[in-house]
Amino acid sequence: MKLEGTQTLPATVETVWKSINDPETLRRCTPGLKELSETGPDAYAATLTVGIAAVKGTYKGTLTLSEKQPTTHLKIILEGTGGPGFMKGEGIVDLEPQGEGTLVKWTGDVQVGGLMAGVGQRMLGGVGKMLIGQFFKCLEQHLGTDA
């Protein structure tokens, strides 16, 4: 499942970059994240409960940040397995200054396996986009508070 979108944030690329790389932001803003513990540089063990309304699954796995080009480019990989199957999301985030703020361009490749994939097709794409939107909304809300 390929998703993509853009988001404008009212902060400089430096502020946005710092925020995205901060484990506190990840902890706070990754939808459904229940536990995040550092296992190495830019690598974390993660537990998340993700879904929509009553339809939820708990996944245990990892979150890694890579391909870092400070203030411009980043890759985030979040993957986990759980009762409902497995999920793997690979996101590429590119930042560009836009006036006083930052234009965030993101693309994501989300793989969902098992129960959710076989049964939830009607909504997976839309829900995926929505969850990613929630991440950026949360990011926006907390910009500047960590500066």
């Binding site: 309304a53 339809v55 009762g83 129960l115 049964v119 009607r122 909504m123 794409g125 986009k129 929505m130």
Partner: protein, 290 residues
């Protein structure tokens, strides 16, 4: 496909039901018709720890006409709404929409309020509530409150309800006198979820469109009021050219998703096609308002 273990309660009073919801919060799910909840539980997509079965609350099973609106209790079955003379006379758009929910057997058990609370992105009842400017009464620990349709539907399968709240009633205002209506949808098969559904209410006065309301389902996470299209219609002369203009406005307004049944492009195109057809049908039914 057997559900995970859960606690089952069948309260005998509304207060008892509310107390259970209050105690268990988002671990609890309300069971009314069960036509959406039970399959999700059987597939283990949903694993509520507690099921609160409200089927033994006959006080919630009613359908009345009151103050210019149809009042539908939480336990009123879709089939009852479909067959009621009140619906046919005062709100035929609702009847036309209910009739397309699944199959007869599903409508025998499913409830209108349940469908609204479930908020499926392709549901008929959520769009019907939206287009008719309806509202629900929700009761919870904080007491009773009224929620308008345009504040109720938040996202896929998500309403603004607190998990401890129970919708006890939905109210659908009757159609304005002389208004034409249409509910038009396209589905893969008889009884399937709509790929796209369009509801239209149209009033005509002095030969022009006096009021137009258009709502769509299946084109996003929640029902969509096509306000741009509605503005394009107001005060304009009815006819095929106007319907086509409105159809184009709808196409520009909606942001549908891709899924395995249809692409966003298909839904966008068909949203326009169905809008045009629904407007023509509604116009055919409209009588000049005084």
């Amino acid at each position: 496909m057997k559900p995970a273990a859960f606690e089952y309660h069948a309260p005998r009073t509304v207060d008892e039901a509310l107390a259970l919801l209050d105690a268990h919060g988002d671990e609890a799910k309300v069971l009314a018709g069960g036509q959406s909840l039970v399959p999700m539980m059987n597939m283990r997509l949903a694993r509520p720890g507690v099921v609160v079965d409200i089927n033994r609350l006959p006080a919630l099973d009613y359908l009345t006409l009151d103050g210019g609106a149809l009042r539908i209790g939480a336990l009123c079955r879709q089939r009852a709404v479909e067959r009621s003379a009140l619906t046919a006379e005062h709100c035929p758009l609702l009847r036309d929409a209910v009739r397309l929910i699944g199959h007869l057997q599903i409508r025998n058990r499913g409830t209108v309020v349940g469908s609204i609370a479930h908020a499926d992105p392709a549901a008929e009842m959520t769009a019907a509530l939206t287009i008719l400017g309806g509202e629900v009464t929700a009761t919870g620990p904080g007491g009773e409150r009224t929620i308008d349709a345009d504040e109720l539907f938040v996202s896929y399968l998500t309403t603004s309800l607190d998990p401890r709240e129970l919708i006890t009633e939905a109210r659908f205002p009757v159609l304005p006198a002389g208004a034409g209506w249409s509910w038009t949808e396209i589905a893969r098969r008889h009884g399937d979820f709509a790929l796209v559904g369009v509801g239209v209410v149209l009033s005509v006065r002095a030969g022009v469109v006096a009021d137009a309301r258009i709502a769509l389902t299946g084109v996003g996470p929640t029902p969509v009021r096509a306000t741009h299209a509605e503005r394009a219609l107001a005060g304009a002369a009815p006819g095929d050219a106007l319907w086509e203009q409105a159809a184009e406005a709808v196409r520009a307004e909606v942001e549908p998703d891709d899924d395995i049944h249809a692409s966003a492009a298909y839904r966008r195109h068909v949203a326009g096609v169905l809008t045009g057809r629904a407007l023509a049908e509604a116009h055919g039914r409209a009588r000049e308002a005084a």
